[in-house]
């Protein structure tokens, strides 16, 4: 069983402290976990700290996975190299090591991930010809082609249309379920979170202020504290929890 736990994790950019004392109980693999928080709350910093791109105090504890089993997908989607989609995914697979030759198994892995994320038709297209949403899907395929056991994705659906958001989150949920991987997504759309993510971590003031089953974390009180927004949770006609926004709550929100 793969899990990820944080013990008093900190990180700073220069002299500015972004994270201090971020602690959470082990997040288990097999489902999607959301990381929510206001802009500049430190979501990307936390991801980069977990991925080892930033140093700082505290312990990132991985169970059932080695550091090289972890993949972090940054938010930026600016890919302009003269490469086809297919080549760019091969490239991601080959960073793990191996020579210039490609085995049939490696090509099969590339084909598989392209199918999973609805990119099969784009395989031979050049990266610069893609739309923003298509690039985002390609970068998800790049992140998952090596079958990482721990996946951190920074707003993986921000450039996608409504249907693709649904489709990609569903594909990510299936990936987590099939591989038992820990998949943590930084998301802004709380309706997506409620629909797709079993557990949620709430980040504010450089700390994790709540963690647990999504509906227990995303209470109207917590949403007001995180975003300064009054809201309530209702059910859609198919039974999914939905957040209805009533308006600004008029109280200072957590930074």
């Amino acid at each position: 069983m793969v899990s990820l736990a944080l013990e008093q994790v900190g990180a700073r950019y220069g002299r500015r402290e972004i994270l201090s004392d971020a602690t959470c109980a082990p997040v288990a693999g097999g489902g999607l976990t959301a990381l929510v928080g206001a802009n500049a709350a430190g979501k990307s910093t936390l991801f980069r700290r977990i991925a080892g791109q930033l140093r700082g105090p505290g312990i990132v504890r991985l169970e059932g996975a080695a550091p090289h089993d972890l993949r972090y997908m940054p938010q930026d989607t600016g890919m302009s190299a003269a490469l086809t989609v297919y080549e760019s995914v091969i490239l991601a697979l080959k960073q793990g090591g191996g020579g210039w030759r490609l085995s049939a198994a490696e090509l099969a892995a590339v084909d598989d991930v392209l199918h999973r994320f609805g990119l099969a038709d784009l395989a031979q297209r050049q990266l610069p010809e893609l739309s923003g949403g298509q690039r985002q899907s390609v970068s998800i395929a790049q992140t998952l082609v090596s079958q990482p056991k721990v996946v951190l994705m920074d707003e993986p659906t921000s450039a996608l249309d409504l249907f693709r958001q649904y489709e990609i989150l569903e594909a990510l949920r299936r990936y987590a379920e099939e591989t038992g991987a820990v998949v943590i997504l930084a998301l802004h759309d709380l309706n997506q979170v409620m629909r797709a993510c079993a557990t949620t971590l709430a980040l504010a003031e450089g700390r994790i202020i709540a963690a647990g089953p999504t509906l227990e974390v995303l209470t109207p009180e917590m949403i007001s504290r995180l975003y300064g927004i009054d809201s309530r949770v209702e059910r859609c006609s198919r039974g999914c929890p939905m957040m209805i926004v009533d308006g600004p709550s008029g109280q200072a929100r957590a930074g």
């Binding site: 991925a51 791109q53 090289h68 993949r71 972090y72 997908m73 940054p74 930026d76 600016g78 890919m79 302009s80 190299a81 003269a82 490469l83 086809t84 297919y86 080549e87 760019s88 091969i90 490239l91 991601a92 080959k94 960073q95 793990g96 210039w100 049939a104 090509l107 099969a108 590339v110 084909d111 392209l114 099969a120 395989a123 031979q124 050049q126 610069p128 010809e129 970068s139 790049q142 992140t143």
Partner: protein
């Protein structure tokens, strides 16, 4: 290759096709290069039949002395120096563009050739030898020393915290202007004779080719190419953007510094031998990128081959355009190369930048 499993996967199959096409393009480029070198050797002020030239190359002992000297001691070193210099400058430009994420980057954008010209002019105008032990070779040695000094400066600045690729490019451009101003100052005070020597040097020329220079440039290529080849996947990943490459586990900063060192040597040595042939460092990589894409397994040999082909073909043109005279090669590369290059990027542009 297990055809059975790839049959089931159409995209893998078309990818194999793409790889085969690219290998064919590389072989084609190599064939064009061989042809161009053959024509290059057969051309010159003394007119020999192509058959005689080839016989002299294959069996030098059987040829008459004059022809042997012309072919083996004059034309062959020139033709082969065009190949090694073209390949070195193009490879240097290719990796510079890769690590600085800038289509205009080349060793020349970073001030290497301006520094080399200044070093050469120091020798020609003031007779100053940076290494007094080798006065006979003071022009190339001065040029090399100044080019390396310029790249060490860039390298040193790049290791500072918070220096981005944009900063590096801007610093390089500042170096270009500084060395050009220093060069102009030297030229202003130069004698007529020294002035014409400086001007001729900055035009770039292969006429001072020797087997020794061919060997040195070839050895440097042989040393640097495997070091880049080992990093092929990481270098390709850098083109997806720094953040993404870092997320894939590429040590971006270290790779950039390593590449900068290799590129400096790759560019400084040829420039000190042949003067300023800056254009190759920009065009060679772009031609390779258009033909082969940016997978470094193909882009790396492709950039070297296209640079070599361009400079070799330029050498042919420099002899063929004005019968009996050899035009400075730096002029031809720009005059003939620019329209060709413009046509190429306008018609085949893939919006890669």
């Amino acid at each position: 290759m297990t055809s059975l499993s790839t049959d089931a996967i159409p995209h893998a199959q078309s990818y194999r096709g793409l790889v085969a096409r690219r290998l064919a393009i590389l072989v084609g480029l190599a064939a064009v290069l061989v042809l161009s070198v053959a024509v290059d050797v057969s051309l010159g002020p003394a007119r020999y039949a192509l058959g005689d030239v080839l016989r002299t190359i294959v069996a030098p002992g059987a040829a008459d002395l004059q022809m042997r000297v012309v072919i083996w001691d004059i034309r062959m070193p020139m033709a082969l120096l065009a190949v090694t210099v073209g390949a070195s400058l193009s490879l240097a430009g290719a990796q510079m563009q890769t690590i600085l994420a800038n289509p205009l980057a080349s060793p020349f954008t970073l001030g290497l050739s301006a520094a080399a010209s200044f070093g050469a002019a120091l020798a020609m105008v003031l007779g100053v030898a940076i290494f007094p032990a080798a006065v006979g070779l003071m022009v190339p040695i001065n040029a090399f020393a100044m080019a390396m000094a310029a790249s060490l400066l860039i390298f040193g600045l790049s290791t500072l915290r918070g220096v981005t690729v944009e900063t590096i490019v801007l610093l390089g451009i500042a170096l270009v202007f500084s060395f050009n101003a220093a060069l102009a100052l030297l030229q202003y005070f130069a004698s007529d004779q020294a002035l014409s020597a400086v001007v001729f040097w900055t035009m770039g020329s292969l006429t001072k080719a020797t087997w020794g220079k061919v060997a040195i440039t070839a050895a440097i290529l042989a040393l640097c190419t495997p070091l880049f080849a080992r990093r092929a996947w990481a270098l390709t990943a850098i083109r997806l953007g720094e953040a993404r490459a870092a997320a894939m586990g590429v040590p971006v900063r270290r790779l950039r510094l390593e590449a900068l060192v290799l590129v400096s040597v790759l560019a400084a040595v040829p420039v000190s031998f042949v003067g300023t042939i800056g254009f190759i460092g920009i065009v060679g990589p772009h031609v390779a990128r258009l033909l082969l894409g940016e997978d470094q397994r193909f882009f790396l040999p492709g950039a070297m081959l296209s640079g070599a082909v361009i400079l070799s073909a330029t050498s042919v043109l420099s002899k063929a355009l004005l019968p009996g005279a050899v035009l400075p090669i730096g002029i031809i590369t720009a005059l003939v190369g620019v329209p060709f290059f413009a046509a190429l990027i306008l018609t085949k542009g893939r919006k890669a930048w």
